[in-house]
Subunit: 318 residues, 2 copies
């Protein structure tokens, strides 16, 4: 049995991970300030005796250090995950992503914990020159505050691996879909079509191509990497070997909902400032460990629509 | 006339830059907390009517914002420049490099200043897979807290270029030599040989290969790039097209001083944890702008010894 500490444990991906770790018989502490995480995502976990939720902030250094003590392995998944509105509040990415990661590393060091897994992002490739983009792509130029703050987090973790003999697992995610999804284009489209199924407005020209991964496939990949990754710093892209245009995704969502909205566009190649018109990550490295995704992007989108249909309470939160 | 604001303006490289900007008729404000910067480095500048020194810290956001107002262009050169002892005080790199850079960017944004030049480092390439290492080398893994903190600074600047229409000039330096040099292996060797010319102890096996650039060549390169660089984010390696082993450099220093010390070694390929045994940057990109260095590494080392010989007051400071 391993004692896992999961920051942001009430979040979308992390809460799914928490459930899986508990199913495997491990002890799990979720540490979450519930600013975007949902207590309802931990209803299953709360029934397990080996689970504990600590409602606190990763910026509270004393509380964090006190809480992390006695664990073996840290999943640092707490983050400001909003890439689109970063320029409205640049301090948020600095504090909640960069400084928070430093705080987690320092709390670990103070208590002799040296294994950390980190939720990074494909956004750190900026507008990638090589597509599909491998982990050792040409040194990218950042295009978003979110990407920059995650890059800073990756750098800190790698430096702790060299400087203090930590072992790090860094995951560069594409967008994730599935149960407990509560942020992103499927969410926005679903809400818009519920309000008015006759028309919908898309950001950009709708031709932006993106890649997506189903959350259970994502959790499978994470668990495979932390079991098999043997480097001091293990960096893995997580995604599928396909991509789709935003327009296609909307077609799947509309078909699933039985609606045929008229589309209009805000225009331009990008959905927002710093948006990348084509995100598609090379995933040979994680596949070489024996992992592969079970769901296609379309299946992931459809699962997500099903989930939102059964969980309309999520929309009341906004 | 441009009104330049130079953070860390009393430092080694920045004070040389300040003198050159003043010589060209520009107005310059140096902003330095004098923690490692030397007022004596600004003796020439202080005689110029268009020069002003503000003694303050980049972590003092209010003072920084107030001071930066009314300038056209910022050289952000204030930093904790110590790569070797980073693991003794990890917070220092986070605060003085990453958070400080954020503070400078925010102060600029608040006052409508959008051009920034940044002193980054070849250390961000970690243990480079490609040597000589070009600017678009494979995405590196960080090996030092210093490198990680500078990478974070680069990422922030690039994100501000996309998000707020800034223009950025990022310089990845090799080690710099010459007038006002006061930190690094020539300094350490000089001091050791003054104390005892008969023997000397080298970190590692002495075979570490490094690249160096003379400070006046470095300033020439910086001024060339900010004149000619037209991208939103202009990233340039600055170095010479040669490297030398630490052992060779010691030979040049010893010959210059007329001493023949017996050498001993701490052992291992690296001088310290996270040290890279071979640093050699590709400089085709900056050369394509018409710049080239005037001094060889050996000439730079000899100039540095001359400088230290005439400025032994620097050793009293330690």
């Amino acid at each position: 049995m391993t004692r896992y500490f999961v920051t942001g444990g009430a979040g979308f991906i992390a809460s799914n991970l928490v459930d899986r770790l508990l199913q495997s018989g491990h002890a799990v502490t979720a540490y979450d300030n519930l600013s975007t995480g949902q207590p309802r995502f931990l209803e299953l976990a709360q029934k397990q005796p080996k689970f504990r939720l600590i409602e606190a902030d990763v910026l509270d250094e004393a509380k964090l250090a006190d809480s992390i003590k006695g664990h073996d392995f840290v999943f640092h998944f707490a983050a400001n995950a909003d890439v689109r509105f970063g320029t409205n509040h640049p301090r948020r990415d600095l504090e909640q992503n960069t400084i928070a990661t430093y705080n987690v590393l320092e709390a670990m060091r103070a208590h002799g914990i040296s294994q950390i897994a980190f939720s990074s992002t494909g956004s750190i490739y900026g507008e990638a020159q090589v597509i599909p983009t491998p982990e050792d792509a040409p040194f990218p130029v950042q295009t978003s505050l979110y990407g920059a703050s995650k890059l800073a987090g990756e750098g800190l973790i790698a430096a702790y691996c060299t400087g203090y003999n930590f072992r790090g697992y860094i995951f560069r995610f594409v967008s994730i879909l599935g149960e407990r999804y509560s942020h992103g284009h499927v969410f926005d489209f679903y809400r818009s079509l519920q309000n008015d199924p006759t028309k919908i407005r898309l950001l950009g020209n709708g031709k932006q191509r993106k890649s997506y991964l189903y959350v259970q496939d994502c959790v499978d990949a994470i668990l495979t990497v932390i079991e098999k990754g043997q480097e001091p710093v293990n960096i893995y892209n997580l995604g599928t070997d396909e991509y789709c245009a935003v327009n296609e995704s909307l077609t799947w969502i509309s078909e699933k909902l039985g609606v045929t909205p008229e589309r209009s566009y805000t225009g331009g190649e990008r959905g927002w400032i710093g948006d990348s018109p084509f995100i598609f990550l090379e995933t040979k490295k994680v596949r070489s460990l024996g992992w592969k995704p079970k769901l296609t992007i379309r299946q992931g989108v459809e699962k997500t629509v099903d989930y939102l249909r059964n969980n309309e309470w999520l929309f009341e939160k906004r």
